[in-house]
Symmetry: C2
Subunit: 552 residues, 2 copies
């Protein structure tokens, strides 16, 4: 968590104009949200407009404005016109107006009276506790009319604006300010139907067929695949244990030969800075600063896709390295005890260091709430947000109203920002335990002479380099053939891993090494250990090593 910028700012509605000491921190905190809301007007009726500006704290007013990156937009993005029907909504605020205008169905015909959801009670976050002690939150059809809630089914299940509902825009705007506190004043959030869709929107908004975008040499395959359909291929930048290597990024961009490449110098860079998929690598603070400096040097737009941002873990300490009893499940370094400690422990985001407004941050509930919510948001300068919102209008429109209403009920009314951060601390701890279990199994079962790995500092993935140069078939088979042989050997042991080649940013590029990806996200603890044991067996068989014995 970066410190707030050293400028004279105030918070909420309370101006701090003198130099007297104040107990109110000079940036938005979890505790400041109530005051912020108390001093603003909220309107969230059917298809109501709700832009982030209505929900940001006043501290933002004293920040500089961002640069304008609309000159980077494609013809497609620039061509979009506001929907006349959505614009007509302006007339509806006039007193006494009867609308026979928009074709919004009457909520009387929604066959749902209420939606009730069992969610965690207090700090009882384990699955069995949620089941046993579930707290029911209920979304009624007409709660707003009855004054019992700021959101209800009659609104959530009708059409909405391309920004998403004001109820959710407010929540994500506050959350984004609390966690990232952007450095410029004109930032905004727009709801998305998930970051896969959001990234594809960005590709179409900034690149044309024949252009390239920049990615890690091993990259999230849906991002690469989304580009392929659009004829926008990825340029892969070499990676180390902290992800993208800045010197190689600089080299590729500095030496870009438009004629040889038959393409313009790329300016869109796609990053998963934390717990990268598939390598599990996490960029440290300095790495991010270095890449951001290069983004400024080469005038890049940075897509920061951060589904695993809150799954940052304690440093892994191997049980064999210490004097403990062999199980270090989560106890290797102290976990954060408070929200402030937790936020302070997070590697700063690109958004938090973006003075120019060149970062588009993609957030998602998929890895911290549930993928099936198909709901996330993006954060960038308001002019770019406006274009992406227009894109939403004629495509997905907005996230599901069921998703928005249920998330609102849980995140805003039931949890609030503080308890949500508590939940993230819980999830972080659970994934840390899972990571440790898998790493301990690896140390026990994987023959180090033929495979290596780096303990991930975040996310869900463990990335194995298989030392194919030691494989009996080395020299006779090419890299893809050896990868397939080893992958099939693991399948024969009834375990499924992901092939490194599935993640090539440049399928035609030069890839001397064999990699396999394992996830510690899903399998039960016992199955996870057994899976790693089988992987170890597969390697022993494939490389002709002696079988594993418990005393080995």
């Amino acid at each position: 968590m970066p410190p707030p910028p050293a400028v004279d700012i105030d918070v909420g509605a309370e101006a701090v104009d003198d130099n007297s000491p104040s107990t109110t921190p000079a940036y938005l905190t979890v505790l400041g949200v109530d005051e912020l809301r108390a001093n603003s007007v909220f309107s969230g009726g059917i298809a109501a407009v709700g832009l982030s500006d209505a929900f940001k704290s006043k501290t933002n007013g004293k920040k500089p404005t961002s640069k304008d990156f609309t000159y980077r937009l494609t013809l497609e993005s620039r061509s979009r016109q506001p929907s006349p029907l959505k614009q007509a909504a302006q007339y509806l605020s006039r007193k006494g107006m009867i609308s026979l205008g928009g074709g919004l169905p009457s909520s009387a015909y929604f066959p749902f009276d209420h939606v009730s959801v069992g969610v965690p009670r207090g700090d009882l976050f384990s699955e069995s506790d949620i089941h046993k002690y579930a707290h029911n939150v209920t979304i009624g059809k007409h709660d707003m009319k009855e004054g019992t809630s700021a959101y209800d089914l009659s609104v959530a299940l009708n059409y909405g604006q391309g920004t998403g509902s004001p109820q959710m825009v407010r929540w994500v705007t506050e959350h984004t300010e609390i966690v990232h506190n952007p450095l410029y004043q004109n930032w905004a959030c727009v709801m998305t139907v998930g970051s896969t869709s959001a990234f594809e929107m960005c590709l179409r908004s900034f690149c044309n067929r024949g252009d390239y975008f920049i990615a890690d040499e091993y990259a999230f395959c849906s991002a690469v695949e989304a580009g392929r359909g659009l004829g926008i291929n990825a340029v892969g930048i070499r990676m180390d244990s902290e992800g993208m290597i800045p010197s190689h990024l600089d080299e590729v961009l500095t030496n870009w030969d438009e004629k040889a490449r038959e393409a313009k110098k790329p300016f869109l860079i796609y990053l998963v800075p934390t717990g990268q998929n598939p390598t599990g690598s996490t960029q440290g603070t300095q790495r991010r600063k270095d890449i951001y400096a290069l983004a400024q040097k080469h005038d890049l737009i940075v897509i920061e896709d951060e589904p695993y941002y809150f799954l940052q873990m304690d440093k892994y300490v191997s049980p064999s390295a210490g004097s403990n009893n062999g199980s270090n499940n989560g106890n290797s370094t102290p976990a954060p005890k408070t929200i402030d400690e937790f936020l302070a422990s997070l590697t700063p985001s690109y958004l938090s260091m973006d003075i120019d407004g060149r970062v588009i941050r993609l957030d998602s509930f998929s890895k911290v709430i549930a993928p099936g919510s198909r709901c996330g948001w993006l954060t960038t300068s308001s002019k770019i947000c406006e274009r992406l919102m227009r894109h939403n209008e004629v495509t997905v429109q907005a996230p599901s109203g069921f998703s928005q209403a249920i998330l609102f009920k849980l995140l805003d009314e039931h949890w609030g920002h503080g308890k949500y951060l508590d939940w993230l601390v819980h999830i972080r701890k659970e994934y840390t335990l899972r990571r440790n279990t898998m790493l301990e199994a690896c140390e026990k079962y994987i023959p180090r002479e033929v495979a290596s790995w780096t303990p991930p500092a975040a996310g869900m993935f463990l990335w194995f380099r298989v030392k194919s140069e030691r494989h009996p078939a080395f020299g006779r088979k090419n890299m893809l053939e050896m990868e397939h042989e080893i992958f099939e050997a693991v399948i024969d042991q009834k375990t499924l891993l992901a092939k490194g080649s599935w993640f090539f940013a440049e399928p035609e590029g030069d890839h001397p090494d064999v990699y396999l990806r394992a996830t510690f996200a899903a399998a039960e603890e016992g199955a996870m250990v057994e899976g790693i044991k089988r992987f170890g067996n597969a390697l022993r068989i494939s490389f002709g090593l002696p079988a594993f014995t418990e005393t080995a």
Copy 2:
């Protein structure tokens, strides 16, 4: 409802190979679904694959195969590759396989124990009855493991396939077969996040920048707007009270001059055949046959966007025309009494007459369940479905799991196909009452000397032609100026209508007439009548007519 094709077909698992009479109808009916399901295997686990072929009745096997329209696909659509991660799911069916492959989070970390929804009990369909007697359906986290349901939150809230969940694909496939019984065997359904998104997918799959698509001269503005961003403009075909005029469609296509237009002859035609937005027009059966014949003649792909298909109403009979007591709310012609009568009363869809496989039907729950579900489906030949499913994979992925689970619980487990059709009969009746209320108000309050309208046979919209040639400003002001003056006059009376110009397929085209659109979908009955009264007053003021008096 078209009769089933006259070929030797059987139903479900029961082959009818002899000529003996059978009581089983030779096509899938509501009552045949149980038997169909009893004779097939259903698998609906996490990210399970579920294609329509698994859910269609055996009658389909004896139908001819469709033509192959993949040659019409754009480079974008043809370039999409299957996701390697989704393909890897094939290994998971092997017994004993442990997956460390896909990065699917564990459902243990979804903070939801159950979702409970209050839905209609029996035939108690009114909003007050649903509130008073709500039946609660509950979706648990692990209902599948416990054997109590075919779907649960642990599956619905995880990642899924680009087709949507097998649970929903099964339901929409059965529904589509019951209602439309496609003529060729290789049809399939893919879930969408709504028809706005589905249409944009179709545009991108069949047209390139600079191409045209064909539409009604007044067309759904989001469809036109979606095309604008893509550089795919609409060609507007003239309309009458039954929508698109076939002779003009034929004329435009036959005389298409690629050089003069600087564009290829268009082949994608966008239609809202039932209760068209904005004109409210409904194509009769012969009109559809004529347009389909032209689609064959000119080798068109037909996008049939049918959100209002089930809102087909009884013929309107003006109370002043008959001998009844002045209120004909829904009683003008007998409403269908049974599901069979209802289905038989529906104008046949393009899908039902499509022997070639050139129709892509878009269905939506927005107008019959709730827009906020952001869930619909499309139906066409399986090869085109496969391409659109790939498109889903790298963009929206699938509809919200909350939406899919709640719809499944309501439509499949609680209602089943029959009760859903009962609900549609109910909704149809409600909209018929609303339409009649608005039409009666029009007859009372709108001065016929300056405005005319045709009672809509379906949908939500009433389309007024304002006789601008009788306006005092006629000749001095152009059409758009007069339209704006009249629109503002209605706003001054505190009523919002939609301008006809918002729906121009070709904004630059020649539009001599002024139109305004009203909807009877949303406002309360009293407000609707008051709104029409105000509209009448606005016309009287704007045209300089005497004020309305009750005795007039």
